[in-house]
Symmetry: C2
Subunit: 332 residues, 2 copies
Amino acid sequence: MKLIVNNNFLYSPSRGLGGEAGGSAVPDFVRVHAPATVANMVCGFDVLGFAVNDPYDEMRISFTDKPGITIINEDEYNLPTVPELNVAGAALLAMQEEMEEQRGFELHICKHIKPGSGVGSSAASSAGAVVAANRLLNNQFTNEDLVRFAMNGEKVASGVKHADNIAPCIYGGVTLIRSIFPLDIIPLTAPPLFVTIVHPQIEVRTSDARGILKQQVLLKDAIRQWGNIAGLVAGLLKSDYDLIGRSLEDVLIEPVRSILIPGFDKVKQLSKEAGALGGGISGSGPSIFMLSKDEATAKEVEKQMHSVYEKLSLDHHTYVTNINQTGVKIID
Amino acid sequence: MKLIVNNNFLYSPSRGLGGEAGGSAVPDFVRVHAPATVANMVCGFDVLGFAVNDPYDEMRISFTDKPGITIINEDEYNLPTVPELNVAGAALLAMQEEMEEQRGFELHICKHIKPGSGVGSSAASSAGAVVAANRLLNNQFTNEDLVRFAMNGEKVASGVKHADNIAPCIYGGVTLIRSIFPLDIIPLTAPPLFVTIVHPQIEVRTSDARGILKQQVLLKDAIRQWGNIAGLVAGLLKSDYDLIGRSLEDVLIEPVRSILIPGFDKVKQLSKEAGALGGGISGSGPSIFMLSKDEATAKEVEKQMHSVYEKLSLDHHTYVTNINQTGVKIID
């Protein structure tokens, strides 16, 4: 799917958000692009995630004289504007609690990452909002603080504070969340990787996808899983594509969750036959991602994904992108 | 404990094993040192292990006209000499099945690694035997083949084929066994690490230590464990000592198995207070290992270990050593 940038959103002076952002001075407003993210990364359930260059959300924040948080949605999704019910709002509220000086925020959100698609839509909103606000605050908070604040948005979205989308969205690249309490985020280097994502237009609620997981697992399956995550981390850090491919195996979560995603097994099989290193469910689905060594393979994988969902007569979007190394990007 | 090398074993011509091993020609006999190993490495149950420089076993192998395998023990442990019941014998039998030409072996074993100590005594015997024999066979087999053969020795010792001692014993350094079937061994680089080991003189049978483990674990504990192993692998490859230390946490196996080891909690607490990065049960115990950044700390840790077991009036041996990078070493 081609991303359609809402140019009107970007520059319209009619919204009364004049002023220039320049140099290191604190600007009147801050605009950011907040990238989509792929959580879990097959064998790294709840602890691994990575950011991609496409799609991304656009957001703009400024101070207002009005206390609290004013949210203005500039997209088609009709998301809540009550701050406590909006993921970006919840993240900003958590941030306000720790701000040195109380200021009100006005946040304009133009989402291109469809909510519920499984590529970190809520994380992009939460993370984008706090990174943008922090720039307005002259970078008062550390990245780790921002992750903490943004996790409050995830709690609104799914009922659980988790950081496997938030952390890569803020840090960029591949991140390991070794621990949530206390928070321990480890950025991991990775060789160039192309990412093909397909989003079949069905709904899988994160809370449902969590609900069907068994609370107990076999020790032998857990051992296989931690052998794989250890292999994946080693493969990423050693730039060993074969090892990355061999390690992209999930014996615990995928067999349960993939049942909710029509065409999953076929997409995986055809993608691998087309040369993908491997892949699986993005977050809690329904999107599926595949990693490839080169763009040509990633595009061939996209073709296979189309063929599966055309046969199933299921609407779907695809992206061919690569790993985003910067995280939320300040535009001006 | 100072290692006492049995010089008589090394050179005695009276055993009729004359001939010179030299250059790359196939020698008449091969002598090896097979190092002790620490399996599991706290959060890497069944998949991680590393070799240490001290203690090690000495072995010597030669061809004989007599078919099969003749085992001659030259130590105090009175281990079985029937090949099928001897771990080194079982490993050699598996090797013989795949040899191009059938030859008999005579194997002399002088163990310095006490059986049942939890630092890979059986693995040293099995791995040492097949590495030595392979040299006699002009390196007919790959290291991966040798791991496969040697795992038959582990089956004799504990009833289960596992490679988390065998692989580091053969490859040296820290190894990840991502998968046993099919075998996938990944050597991991590591920064310099000093290792303090204490072996309290109690018996913990590997089969008992396995038996008390629950076959089911909580998913949330498994997630914590794979966050830690991912952190440990990243810490090793990035030479990040702090990350290694934070990741040396085991929420699944240690709480169950440590009950079998008197003084465990105290050793761990005092070792960390003395500056150790962390550590835990070596293999299935009863030995405990601790990792330190420098030798002075490793020696201070040793003192604390002595103090714990002196108070408990429990006989014990300690080693201060470091990671062995070469694996089984061919002496001549």
